[in-house]
Amino acid sequence: MAKTTLGGIEIEIDEDGFIQEPEKWNQAIAEDLAKVEQAYPMTEEHWKVVNYLRDYYLKYEIAPPIRMLVKQTGFDLKKIYQLFPSGPAKGACKIAGLPKPTGCV
C-alpha cells in the first residue's frame, strides 16, 4: 500500500487514491483529494454532498445508495456529476474519505 501526503499529513492510499485510514480524514485532506478529482475549489454545494456522505458513512459504515444521496441533498445526478466530474463513487465518496465501493455495485 502506498503512502502519500494529503492535507499536510502522511496517509495511506490504495492504487486508485482512496484513503485507507478513514479516521485521519479532515477538511484539508478532502480539499487535496478534490484537486485530484477536478472538484476544486470546493463550494458550499460540494461540502453539502461530502458532509452528507461522511455522516452516513460514520453511522452505517458504507456509502448510501446513490438515489438516497440524490434525494437527501436535493441535487440530481447531473448536478452531482457537474460538481464531481469523476462521479458520486470515484469522486464524491473518495473526497469524503470513504473506502472504494465493493461488491456488484
Binding site: E15, E61, R67, P101, G103, C104, V105
Partner: protein
C-alpha cells in the same frame, strides 16, 4: 504462435491493437474512434506480471529471487496434482477429467468464444489454448510421460515461472460463459479449465483478485455482504425503499423482513440495494400486489445472494452456500427464491447441490418462473402500451445456458413490451456480457478497459445490431439484463463507448419493466436517468 511459447522469456506474448478488434456497427464503425486502452505504467510493469497481453487482472508480483520463482512453480504443480485427486477435488474432478481427456482438438469451440472473436482471434484467447497448456504440463510433470516422445509428437512444454504467471492471468481472460462447452460435440468444458486454474491460484498459492476474495467473499462472511452493507445499514436502506415505493405508486407497502415460516425467502444480490434499488423495490411491489407470502432476511449474509467463490475457490463457495442454507433453516421458510443475479443462480441452485446435504438441502429456485406466472395469469393489471419502446433481452449465461431458464423472461417481455426484439444469437447460444465470472467488478489497473473493448465487444455489437433501425438518440431503447453483474458490465461498457448519450440506449432489469407497465401508477417507474 505455438502452445510452448507461453514459457518463453519474451517481453509480451500478444498486443491488443484497435485495428485488430472485430469491427462494430454504426455509429462505432470507424476504428480511428476506438477509445485507447489504458497502457500500464513502467512502475506497474516492473512490479507485476504483465507479459501475457499487457493487461493486468490479478497483479502477480514479480519474484525477487530464483528461489522465490522455484517455490511459486512448485506450489502450482502440487496444487495441480491435488486437483487431479478425488479426495481433494470431488466437486469438479469428473468434468475436469473429461475435459482434459476427451478434447479431440477439432477447434469448433474457438469461434464461439467472445474474447477470442472480439480480439481479432488472438491465439492465447482460444478456449483450447489454456487447456492444452495444462494438459501438456500434466503429461510431462505429473504423469511423467516419455520426454523424447513428447518432443517427437510436438506436445512438449517447459514449466517455469513465466508460464505459471501467464497462465494465472490467462485464467482471467475467460468469463466462464461456457459457450465453448455449449458447442462442443463431446461436452468438453474449457471454461471449467479456467475455473480450475483459478482454484489452484487461490487455494494453493493464495492469489486471487482482491475484489473477489479479500473485499468479496471474506468481507461478505465478516460484514454480511460484499458491498459492506451491515444489518444496520440494511434496515436504513429498506426504510428508504419503502418511502420510494410510496412516492412512486402512491401507496404504502411494508417490506417483510425476517418473517418466520414465509413461503419464500427472496434473496437479492446486495449490489442492487446500493446501485439499483429500483430493482428491489419493483420486486417488493410485484410480490405485494400478487399476494405472495415472502420475506427478506436481515441475517448476516442472508441479504446478499452473491457467492463469488463460484468463480475462483470451492472452499469459499462452500462456506457461503452453507451459511445461506442455515439462514433459511433458521427462518423456517419453505424455499429460497434468487432474484436477478446470474452467478447466485449457479452457486446457490446448481453447484451448492453438491455441498448441501440432508436437512440443509432446502428448495432453491429462480425468481423468473414465479414472475412469469404472475404476469401471464394477470395477477397484476398491466398495460403494454406503457412499455412502447424498443426492448431487447440479454441472456445471463448462468441462468440461461447453464440452467436452461430461457422462456419465462421472454413470455413476460412478449406480453408487456410491444416492441420486444431478440438479439442474434440468443437464448442458450447468447454471448456473455463480457463481465462474467467477476470481471464486472474487477477494477485492477487497465483490466476494465480490456473487459469493455475485448470481452464485452460481442455484446455491444449485438446490441447495436438489434437496434440498427432505431439507433439514433431520438428513440429511447432498453436492454433488459436480469442480472446484477451483467448490468454493471453493460453500464461500464456503455460508459466506455458513450452509448447512452450517443444512441439513447438504457439498461435495467426485468422487474422494472413489469412495474413500469402497471396501470394504476401515475408516473413511469423507469426514469431513464443514467447511473
Amino acid at each position: 504462435m505455438k502452445i510452448e511459447d507461453i514459457s518463453k522469456n519474451t517481453e509480451q506474448l500478444v498486443t491488443i491493437e484497435s485495428k485488430d478488434l472485430i469491427p462494430l456497427p454504426y455509429p462505432y464503425d470507424d476504428p480511428a474512434n476506438e477509445p485507447l486502452m489504458k497502457r500500464l505504467t513502467d512502475d506497474q510493469r516492473m512490479r507485476y506480471e504483465a507479459s501475457l497481453d499487457g493487461i493486468i487482472a490479478i497483479g502477480i508480483p514479480k519474484p525477487s529471487s530464483k528461489e522465490e520463482e522455484e517455490v511459486f512453480v512448485k506450489k502450482f504443480l502440487s496444487g495441480l496434482e491435488k486437483l487431479l485427486t478425488p479426495e481433494n477435488n470431488w466437486t469438479f474432478l469428473q468434468p475436469l477429467y473429461h475435459s482434459l481427456e476427451y478434447c479431440v482438438k477439432c477447434q469448433i469451440c474457438n469461434d464461439s468464444c467472445p474474447a477470442y472473436l472480439a480480439s481479432g482471434k488472438k491465439e492465447i484467447y482460444r478456449p483450447t489454448y489454456r487447456a492444452e497448456v495444462l494438459r501438456r504440463i500434466i503429461n510431462k510433470y505429473i504423469k511423467k510421460r516419455n520426454k523424447l516422445l513428447l518432443r517427437l509428437t510436438g506436445s512438449d512444454i517447459d514449466l517455469n515461472w513465466t508460464l505459471v504467471a501467464r497462465l494465472g492471468e490467462l485464467a482471467y481472460r475467460c468469463t466462464l460463459c461456457r459457450k465453448c462447452a455449449q458447442v462442443c460435440p463431446l461436452g468438453v468444458d474449457n471454461g471449467l479449465i479456467s475455473h480450475e486454474i483459478r482454484k489452484i491460484f487461490s487455494q494453493k498459492m493464495g492469489i486471487a483478485p482482491k475484489e473477489l476474495h479479500e473485499l468479496g467473499t471474506m468481507q461478505q462472511l465478516k460484514a454480511g455482504s460484499s458491498t459492506g452493507i451491515t444489518p444496520k445499514a440494511l434496515g436504513n436502506i429498506i426504510e428508504f425503499m419503502e418511502e420510494e415505493i410510496e412516492e412512486k405508486i402512491g401507496r404504502k407497502i411494508k417490506i417483510p423482513v425476517d418473517k418466520e415460516g414465509a413461503e419464500i425467502l427472496l434473496i437479492h444480490n446486495a449490489g442492487e440495494f446500493v446501485s439499483w434499488p429500483e430493482n428491489t423495490e419493483a420486486f417488493a411491489i410485484i410480490f405485494d400486489i400478487a399476494g405472495i407470502d415472502w420475506t427478506l432476511s436481515s441475517d448476516l449474509v442472508g441479504y446478499d445472494a452473491v457467492n463469488y467463490g463460484v468463480w475462483y475457490d470451492d472452499i469459499q463457495l462452500a462456506r457461503i452456500a452453507v451459511k445461506h442454507a442455515e439462514i433459511v433453516k433458521a427462518l423456517k421458510v419453505k424455499k429460497i427464491n434468487v432474484g436477478e443475479c446470474g452467478h447466485a443462480h449457479k452457486a446457490m441452485i446448481v453447484v451448492a447441490d453438491r455441498i448441501l446435504t440432508g436437512e440443509l438441502n432446502i428448495p432453491r429456485e429462480s425468481a423468473l418462473p414465479i414472475l412469469a406466472d404472475i404476469v401471464l395469469n394477470n395477477r397484476i393489471k398491466l398495460d403494454p402500451e406503457r412499455n412502447n419502446f424498443p426492448v431487447t433481452l440479454h441472456d445471463p449465461c448462468n441462468m440461461v445456458r447453464l440452467m436452461g431458464i430461457v422462456e419465462p423472461q421472454r413470455q413476460i417481455l412478449r406480453k408487456i413490451c410491444p416492441q420486444f426484439r431478440e438479439m442474434e444469437p440468443n437464448g442458450v447460444d447468447n454471448y456473455c456480457c463480457g463481465g462474467g465470472s467477476g470481471f464486472a467488478i474487477m477494477q485492477s489497473m487497465n483490466f476494465p478497459d480490456w473487459r469493455s473493448a475485448v470481452s464485452g465487444r460481442m455484446k455491444l455489437k449485438q446490441i447495436l445490431e438489434v437496434f440498427h433501425d432505431v439507433i439514433g438518440p431520438d428513440v429511447k431503447k432498453y436492454v433488459c439484463a436480469p442480472c446484477s453483474n451483467c448490468k454493471g458490465q453493460i453500464r461500464d461498457l456503455f460508459a466506455y463507448y458513450n452509448v447512452f448519450e450517443r444512441c439513447n440506449i438504457f439498461y435495467g432489469g426485468l422487474v422494472e419493466l413489469i412495474v413500469n407497465a402497471m396501470v394504476d401508477i401515475k408516473k413511469p417507474f423507469i426514469e431513464w436517468e443514467w447511473r
